[in-house]
């Protein structure tokens, strides 16, 4: 572990970047997005990364997310740089088939990914690098170096700690940075690639004090997470499959694709034609055309069956097939849901026997409004801005 100061961080990043492309969070109209940067943005970013600045400028002691700053989490997850929204596969002309390249072969540096997002990649790995390897995904994985940034500002939708993750997780990162006081970062090599990179850096070795500081920050960040998902065991999941519960909880669902498209682990896609070009693009199981066959057969015609599919795929089928839930607790699906469909509440409510009404979630055993709700009501009375 090493300590990087403002200057050494900038130099280090320049070193890492070399002739790679740079992907980093960018703020646009008050929201953060992961984007591939153009050369001009790159220079600015490398001099003193905006996201790093955001991470270190927080005021300790203030309740997380309680500023007017944009959500600390990017709107999009990093999955699109490995599993693009639109990917050209090949051209099929009436007189022949013209293959496309799987990747452009460029090295890429992905800066300041959160632990939830990088853990999401390890979940996608199980699908795309499993029995049949998706070469383009594999290439993108190999060609990308991921520098993670630990999260000091989980917000009210985060629940990563209840899914084997945490704001200070390192799964899926090559290198992890912890923002300390005074514009310093604790850098930790995670993968072999990351360790090798770190070795190229002079910087000073981290002392005990700094490690202790990081440890305190970790505790504070984890403590700031207010929500916890409690996934019922397979038996309960199986037993509740046909419950009227699913109609109840999916009633407000608009069957749009926000939850799937922003999710770091959702990976359903479609294969479509644009003229003679065949390509693959994101798709969502909530769409009413997802499973509809040409002759009209559709085994998930009603929206509750599609919503249930999303939940079961994440919390039952994926677990059965890959021994992990396909959810990292980033909270994007709830945060951006047009009608605030609450995945924690819904999953926690699966096992409840109460037949009707909204599930109470795990925060309280006795109906609602419950803890988080009560908290936000309290926050409201002192000023609505504080809710954020």
């Amino acid at each position: 572990m090493r300590i990087l100061e403002r200057k050494t961080l900038a130099e280090f990043l320049k070193n890492c970047l070399g002739d790679s492309e740079l992907i980093a969070p960018v703020e646009i109209e008050g929201r953060l997005y992961f984007q591939q940067l153009d050369p001009e943005q790159q220079l600015a970013e490398l001099a003193w990364p905006a996201a790093a600045a955001k991470a270190v400028s927080r005021e300790h002691g203030e309740s997380p997310g309680a500023t007017s700053a944009p959500d600390p989490l990017t709107v999009n997850s990093i999955k699109e740089f490995f599993f693009p929204r639109r990917q050209e596969l090949y051209e099929q002309r009436p007189d022949g088939i013209i293959p496309r390249d799987a990747a452009d072969g460029k090295r890429r540096l992905l800066l300041f990914a959160r632990a939830c997002d990088t853990r999401g990649l390890t979940i996608l790995d199980r699908v795309f690098l499993g029995v049949t390897e998706d070469e383009s995904y594999g290439r993108a994985r190999n060609e990308t170096t991921i520098v993670g940034l630990h999260c000091l500002q989980p917000d009210r939708h985060c629940f990563c700690t209840s899914l084997d993750g945490g704001p200070f997780g390192t799964e899926g990162m090559d290198l992890a940075l912890t923002p300390l006081e005074d514009e310093r970062f604790l850098a930790q090599g995670i993968s072999d690639k990351g360790k090798a990179l770190l070795a190229t850096l002079g910087g000073k070795q981290a002392g005990e004090g700094e490690q202790e500081e990081a440890e305190q920050l970790r505790k504070a960040a984890e403590g700031a997470i207010r929500r916890a998902i409690r996934v019922p065991d397979q038996q309960t999941m199986d037993a509740r499959f046909d419950s009227p519960y699913w109609k109840e909880v999916s009633r407000a669902c608009l069957t749009c694709g926000i939850c799937s498209y922003l999710c770091p682990t959702c990976h359903c896609f479609d294969i479509v034609d644009e003229g003679y070009l065949r390509l693959r693009c994101w798709d969502t199981c909530s769409s009413d055309t997802f499973t509809r066959m040409a002759a009209g057969e559709d085994h998930r015609r009603l929206k509750h069956s599609r919503y249930r599919q999303r939940i079961y795929h994440k919390f039952s089928y994926f677990k059965e097939n890959f021994d992990t839930h396909a959810c990292v607790g980033c909270g994007r699906c709830t945060r951006w849901c047009p009608v605030k469909t609450d995945i924690v509440e819904i999953v926690n409510g699966i096992g409840e026997t109460a037949a009707a009404g909204r599930p109470s979630g795990n925060e309280s055993a006795s109906g609602r409004p419950v803890k988080a709700g009560a908290k936000s009501t309290a926050a409201k009375s002192t000023g609505r801005g504080a809710r954020r």
Partner: protein, 280 residues
Amino acid sequence: MTPVRIYTPFAARVRELRVETKDVKTLRLVFEEEKVAETFAFEPGQFVELSVAGEGEATFCLASSPQEKGYLECSVKRVGLVTEAIHRLDPDALVGLRGPYGNSFPLQRMEGRDLIFVAGGIGLAALRSLIKVVLAGRGKFGSILILYGARSVEDLVYREELEKWRSLKGLKTVLTVDPGGESPGWKGEIGFVPAVLERLNPGRRNSTVITCGPPIMIRYVLAALDKMGFDPQEVITTLEMKMKCGLGHCGRCNVGPLYVCKDGPVFTYARIREFVEQII
């Protein structure tokens, strides 16, 4: 650089477009590259993704026998965009073909057993490959019953072959059409496949049932077999579902922990029993 290999199809040429019924055609396809033709191997029950330039890709089971070398056959019912395009193809047109995907019928386990094939409509296409292999190794299997039904006499596919099979010894072929679908001189049965199956009441001892057809037929056939006391382990079906990738990635054909494309399409009734409601 590596091409996106897993999705890039092999080029194949249409050698024959046989009209089976008013909305079913059987394509005979030959790979353009000899190397591909030599290495492409499949088992009865597997499927391919067939694509037409500018129209799209769709899933079809291989209806020819792996023992017939040099070509592949798929039977295509005209129902949507891609199947329409296939029906419009010129003889000698170029199509894309990738695969084979999915599992296959457990041929070894069927050896020594009496086989009951129950098919409806275009569903016979999914069993044709297996039937051909079984007939080629006739000695290894017990008695064979083929029960095949369609909406009407005109909707029966593979009529020449059915005639041929009918003339074979130790093989019983029963054809049926839905009530109202018979034509003058129809000598077969009249009635829905599950009902005819119950009437025939084939022995369940040492029998394996292989069934494919429209979802509604499969559902009632499975129910009938349940009633007749067949062992769900010895009831095998092959499922159709919306598929895109064929690799267990795209999520469309996911039902329960299963992906029909990679864990299927061939399943024993025992395996899918708990999901039947969701599938068919």
